[in-house]
């Protein structure tokens, strides 16, 4: 009897297995003429959860996949395989190295380009792209961001995502400060009201993702850079030291909330409830930062990207360039979002058709307004009405004052550099503000350069 009891769960499990196996697993076979065209996005067309983090991208795929499949009916059948946002890079590299099942195209950010290049993951598309009608219409800086160290074109740019500052207008009645000095004065005033002047990606999470965000924005706005222009890391410069001292002061005086250092993008929370007055991040941030509550209590609670757009249209949120050191131009990071073709793609013809389809001004616009979250890579698209909204006008105004470039410059081992820089900066501004900035920067650059 007792043994029977121990067997009961086993039987239960077996029953479950049988039940699960009974459900048909294989999809009905496709007609032979239609070939599958496979993409990897970090979005998932089957995820209908209206509060999912990637709801914008999910919705985009849900809308456009039928359009493409109709346009190429009888020829291609677009199949998207969703990948987790922080695992896709590892998987595509592993898949290419193993000669395994790679997609025909995958979505990538130019920040990952060097990493993919080093692992021999992508195909050079330059030869083909230059023959296409949209080539001349591309924003040259976007093309530059997709260009690998050997001059090859490794992604077709779809949107540029510059970084700027989201600001609650009511928190800065005199406008967002332009100089470090003015900023500190405003920050002190806000602190007196129990508020924070700024929140930013301050943690070392995601292997130093913060390097590419606020850290770079600050360094660039102080006239600094991370490389010497020859592929070697150079951190120990007066400009960089000034930028880091600025951040150090913000942290030491409590002008930034503690949640800025919690990781997991949770620094956004302080901006959502307006407890922090400004938030330097990517232009695409509007997609994730919602719902919002303005300083005057106005709630933007649709829970999607529309919230931030509404707040901007209402004038509650303004976009600005970052604070710049005296005599310097505000700087910012820029990332280009595009499609890359992995080595070993099975159906390149479909991929070419897809890119050509995506590079029509109309589809480019739809993409950029959806998951692209930036400025269109096609200059024609940028002229269309969809990009003359208050949000884009604000953004263009803010960006016209700043000079954007990618943070890694000529550095080749981008992820290694990113992690090393963020950990060093974190130590200097948060963990141990008594450390000598120059010494620590020197140490980090030596470690990186020893490997090249």
């Amino acid at each position: 009897m007792k043994r029977l009891w121990t067997l009961a769960p086993l039987l239960l499990v077996a029953a479950f297995v049988l039940a699960a196996c009974a459900t048909p697993a294989a999809p009905p076979a496709e007609a032979p003429a239609v070939k599958d065209f496979v993409t990897w996005y970090q979005y998932d067309q089957d995820n209908v959860d209206p509060a999912s983090d990637e709801r914008v991208g999910n919705e985009y795929l849900r809308q456009t996949m039928p359009l493409f499949n109709t346009a190429f009916a009888g020829k291609w059948n677009w199949v998207n395989q969703p990948k987790a946002f922080d695992k896709m890079a590892a998987e595509i590299v592993a898949a290419v190295q193993a000669g395994g099942d790679v997609p025909d195209l995958f979505e990538m950010g130019s920040g990952d380009l060097n990493q993919y290049y080093q692992n021999g993951t992508m195909q050079n598309l330059r030869g083909w792209a230059e023959q296409q009608s949209w080539w001349k219409d591309l924003d040259p800086s976007a093309v530059a961001a997709c260009t690998g160290p050997d001059g090859g074109l490794y992604c077709v740019p779809l949107s540029s995502r510059p970084h700027l500052v989201y600001v609650w207008a009511d928190r800065f009645p005199n406008g967002y400060p332009r100089t470090p000095e003015a900023f500190m004065a405003e920050a002190e005033r806000l602190k007196g009201e129990g508020l924070y002047a700024i929140t930013f990606f301050g943690s070392t999470a995601f292997d130093g993702e913060g390097t590419s965000r606020a850290i770079w924005t600050t360094v660039a706005s102080f006239g600094g850079s991370f490389d010497d222009g020859q592929g070697r890391m150079k951190l120990d410069t007066p400009e960089n030291i000034a930028a880091i001292s600025f951040l150090r002061e913000i942290v030491a005086k409590g002008y930034a909330p503690e949640i800025a250092f919690a990781g997991g993008f949770q620094e956004e929370e302080a901006f959502k409830d307006a407890s922090a007055g400004s938030f330097p991040t990517g232009l695409f941030g509007y997609r994730y930062v919602n719902p919002l509550v303005a300083p005057d209590g106005t709630a933007y609670s649709k829970g999607n990207e529309q919230d931030m757009l509404d707040a901007i249209a209402a004038g509650d949120v303004i976009l600005s360039s970052f604070i710049a050191a005296p005599g310097k131009q505000p700087g910012c990071g820029i990332e280009v979002n595009g499609m890359a073709m992995p080595v070993g793609a099975k159906n390149p013809d479909a991929a070419y058709d897809y890119i050509n389809w995506l590079m029509t001004p109309e589809q480019n616009g739809v993409f950029v307004l959806g998951p692209g979250g930036g400025f269109p890579a096609l200059l024609t698209t940028a002229q269309t009405d969809a990009f003359q909204t208050p949000f884009y006008k604000e953004a263009a105004k803010a960006l016209s004052q700043s000079q954007c470039r990618s943070w890694y410059g000529t550095l080749n081992r981008v992820k290694e550099a990113q992690s090393l820089i963020m950990k060093t900066v974190y130590r200097l501004i948060k963990e141990d503000p008594s450390l000598d900035i120059a010494t620590e920067l020197q140490k980090a650059q030596n470690e990186y350069n020893a490997g090249s």
């Binding site: 080093q118 021999g120 943690s203 250092f261 950990k423 948060k430």
Partner: protein
């Protein structure tokens, strides 16, 4: 008669080779899933990926690791984590086992309750513990960040930096996040260790304890002079199993702290994950894996030796 002999011989052959046939499937599976990947890892550790393929770099991956500031620092973090995690779990486990060993009426109920944490996946335990201390929003944060209770700014587990190091570069005292990570890991490992201790305690013959008690020995004396010596081999095994799991577990760090704040919880296993699967530097990750493997082997051989000592002593 002859047929019987033949049958016997047949049986003899089968009987002689039976263990081989029984073990063969296991060996085949292990060769494919464990041995081959291990050899591949050795090969990887001597190569570096360049756009055109794999380059032989000899021990370069290893020297680069040793020159990496974070590698050296993370050895310190690993040591602190292991000592804290194993020590805390052992001590608590021993005391809880002693309580349970009184054969309380509700022992079964208690054991069942206490045991639940162990069956929850480490990633989920990490998420759960993180939920509790998210700055400003977590349930514990409300208490810990309360400035009137704790220090000038309160403690935010996920972001408060570690105090100034006391011994040069060695990261001691640890950050609150490290202590919290140790607590969370101990929370999950505790049931297992408690049970182990309880099992060992129950091998101590009751008569010995009773006679010691009649001779006037106090509870503490009985524990120190009788219980611990008999339990020692099991305790050593428990200790090794703790260090081994602490050395290799990455799920908890991954979902609880992500190595932060800063580098405060960057243990070797997490460094391996981040070099390999985030920076995609498989060669150097393999080199680190080999170093971790060496430590693991030392631990395993230690366990085996001590287990044998135990078997002999019984």
């Amino acid at each position: 008669m002859q047929r019987m002999i033949a049958r016997r011989r047949e049986r003899g052959w089968f009987r002689d080779t039976l263990p081989f046939w029984l073990i063969l499937p296991t060996i085949i599976v292990l060769l494919a899933v464990q041995v081959y990947p291990a050899i591949y890892t050795v090969w990887l550790s001597l190569h570096e990926r360049v756009p055109t393929g794999w380059n032989w770099v000899g021990i370069n991956n290893f020297t680069r690791l040793f020159n990496m500031g974070l590698f050296n620092e993370s050895m310190g973090h690993t040591l602190i984590f292991l000592v804290g995690y194993a020590g805390l779990t052992m001590i608590l486990g021993f005391f809880i086992a002693q309580l349970l060993n009184r054969r309380l009426r509700l022992s079964g109920f208690y054991i069942t309750l206490l045991f639940i944490p162990w069956i929850i996946a480490d990633i989920i335990v990490g998420i759960v513990f993180r939920l509790l201390v998210v700055p400003d929003y977590g349930l514990f944060s409300g208490i810990l960040q309360n400035a009137t209770l704790l220090g000038p700014n309160g403690i935010s587990v996920l972001t408060t930096s570690r105090p100034p190091a006391l011994f040069g570069a060695f990261p001691f005292p640890p950050a609150p996040a490290m202590i919290y990570l140790i607590l969370a890991s101990a929370w999950r490992a505790l049931p297992f260790i408690t049970l182990l201790m309880l099992a060992a305690m129950q091998t101590v013959p009751n008569e010995i304890i009773e006679s010691a008690r009649i001779d006037g020995a106090s509870g503490a004396q009985i524990t120190r002079r009788i219980m611990i010596p008999i339990m020692l081999p099991t305790m050593v095994v428990a200790l090794f199993s703790l260090t081994l799991s602490g050395m290799n577990g990455v799920g908890m760090v991954f979902s609880l702290t992500g190595g932060g704040p800063g580098t405060a919880t960057e243990v070797l296993s997490y460094l391996l994950y981040s070099i390999g699967w985030r920076q995609l530097n498989f060669g150097r990750a393999a080199a680190l894996a080999m170093l971790i493997a060496v430590v693991n082997w030392l631990l395993i051989s230690g366990t085996l030796r001590l287990t044998r000592v135990q078997e002999r002593s019984i």
